[in-house]
């Protein structure tokens, strides 16, 4: 399974897992599971649209994901957040359906867009994916403090000039960029599993953000690597293993928390927050 044609998959999957682990920590922290599921559907529509007009898929993925994120952010200011997210999701999928209807897209390609495909990565795609990954990590690093503040103690954040709505918009765009690059391997429908299962499990073991993020990345890596390996051996779709292994890690996390009877930490550790809040 480490033959030449598989190397691309391992490399990209590793990048994907790191991004998902980092961004996913904040997805879980902010309770943004629904947007994290909805935005990749924008990526799906973008990929379909890109292939329709003959543009590089990655561009389509990126543009439409960001559009979806901006739409949710903008409409979500005035309307219910979950309703707006649902609408954005169906609009994106409907657009995807429309684009597909105007091409002669074959089933395997649709399947791999939605559920992931281990073998679908061309070597010249690795660099853009890595580049986008670096951008995401950099964005999270720059936004780290205001992001934690607005997620955990939004009032204090507001007092310090962190506008919640701006943070929300910025965060959604980061999620969009993160998912745009991950769709090719893991699939539009399953990338969000990677963004909520491992981070949720990590938060069950620790409530210190840096440790939780590292643990989240570690679990995501283990999940993705195992998924590739088992998928390679069984020929079953990688998406199935990503979905079930992510769920498994979540369950383990909850079981651990229940056994320790500490419960899922509702907040980041207070001294960590204090360090962030104090100048």
């Amino acid at each position: 399974m480490f033959a030449g044609f598989m190397i691309n998959a391992w490399v990209v999957a590793t990048i994907v897992a790191v991004i998902a682990g980092v961004v996913g920590f904040f997805v879980v922290l902010r309770g943004s599971a629904f947007p994290a599921h909805a935005i990749p559907n924008g990526a799906f529509a973008g990929a379909a649209g890109a292939s329709l007009i003959g543009v590089n898929t990655l561009i389509g993925l990126g543009v439409f994901s960001v559009l979806a994120a901006l739409g949710i952010g903008a409409l979500g200011r005035r309307g219910r957040h979950d309703v707006v997210t649902a609408l954005a999701l169906v609009v994106m999928l409907a657009l995807g359906a429309f684009f597909l209807s105007q091409t002669t897209e074959y089933e395997p390609e649709i399947f791999s867009l939605l559920f992931g495909e281990v073998l679908g990565i061309a070597t010249n795609e690795i660099l853009p994916v890595a580049g986008l990954g670096v951008v995401c990590i950099a964005a999270v690093a720059v936004l780290y403090r205001p992001l934690i503040l607005s997620s955990v103690v939004p009032d204090i954040g507001e007092a310090k000039g962190v506008r919640s709505q701006r943070m929300e918009m910025a965060f959604l765009v980061v999620v969009a960029l993160a998912t745009a690059m991950t769709v090719p391997v893991v699939g539009a429908l399953l990338i969000f599993s990677l963004m909520i299962g491992p981070p949720a499990a990590a938060r069950s073991f620790t409530n210190r953000p840096p440790v939780a993020i590292a643990l989240s990345v570690g679990i995501a890596l283990a999940t993705v690597w195992a998924a590739i390996a088992i998928s390679f051996v069984t020929d079953w779709p990688i998406g199935f293993f990503v979905g079930t292994l992510s769920a498994f890690s979540y369950v383990v996390g909850r079981a651990w928390a229940a056994w320790r009877r500490t419960g899922v930490p509702q907040t980041v550790r207070s001294d960590a927050v204090e360090r962030l809040v104090a100048f």
Binding site: F111, G243, T244
Partner: protein, 300 residues
Amino acid sequence: MHWVFESGFFSSHPVHVAIVVGSIVSVVSAVVGVFTVMRGQSFAGHSLADVSTAGGSGAVLFNVNPLFGFVAGGVVGAGAMELVGVHRARGRDLATGIVLGASIGLAALFLYLGATRSSTTGASQQILFGSIFEIDGSTVAIVAVFGVICLGIMAAVQRPLLLSSVSIDMAAARGVPVRVVGLLYMLALALAVGLSSLAIGAILSTALLIGPAAVALRLTKRIGWAIVAACLTGVGATVLGVLLAYDSYDWNSRHAAWPVSFFIVIIIFLAYLVTELPFVHAATTRRRDVEPVMFPGVDR
């Protein structure tokens, strides 16, 4: 009127079936959807569509009637969500997401196994986007029956459901069996979503559940009127969507018709955007309703 109604529209059998099934599904989804939006359970409603789709894929694989797969999938999924039943919104969303992810993975597996067994092409597309013009005539009766059952459940629980949606503690204090009511509601939701996913695909299921209800609740706070408005919006979008999809067959030389789901979703989305317009906003709040705003968390 020839250019509006392309030839054969009124006599086409698939069109008749599409409109009838679509309308029934729209009404059922609208009624359940109003409560879903009120309770802030849009994510759960959407997830159940994907979960029941996984059930449907599995049913096809094991040669069981897809209807049972869709409904059973929805019921099992709803049960799982209730079981995990974290009452804090964030924990609940997380659990819903996990169930959703696992179900989608399962659907991927079923689709893959189904494709290697038979030579069904386009299965992914079919299941997600539905095929409203290819519904079998016998499905109409099934949809109608399950639709009536679902509406019956909703009629029975609507009063206690309303109470417990506003304030679960107040309802419990008044002796409302909140747990039972919640379960019955989830059952109705599972039925509605399973039905619509089977008939018109997972995307439209969510769109018709959330969209018309969201539009209605932005126009009025009174539940009776909201249900009426949601039904009208849903049925209107469906019928118009079917018409446009039928007409689109002739819009280009390749006869590549645009998907029905595309039209219906876009129409609903446009309706929602219309409610965002300043003068609509003003018009619907100038009239002071007698009832106070009862539903915490519902905007306006």
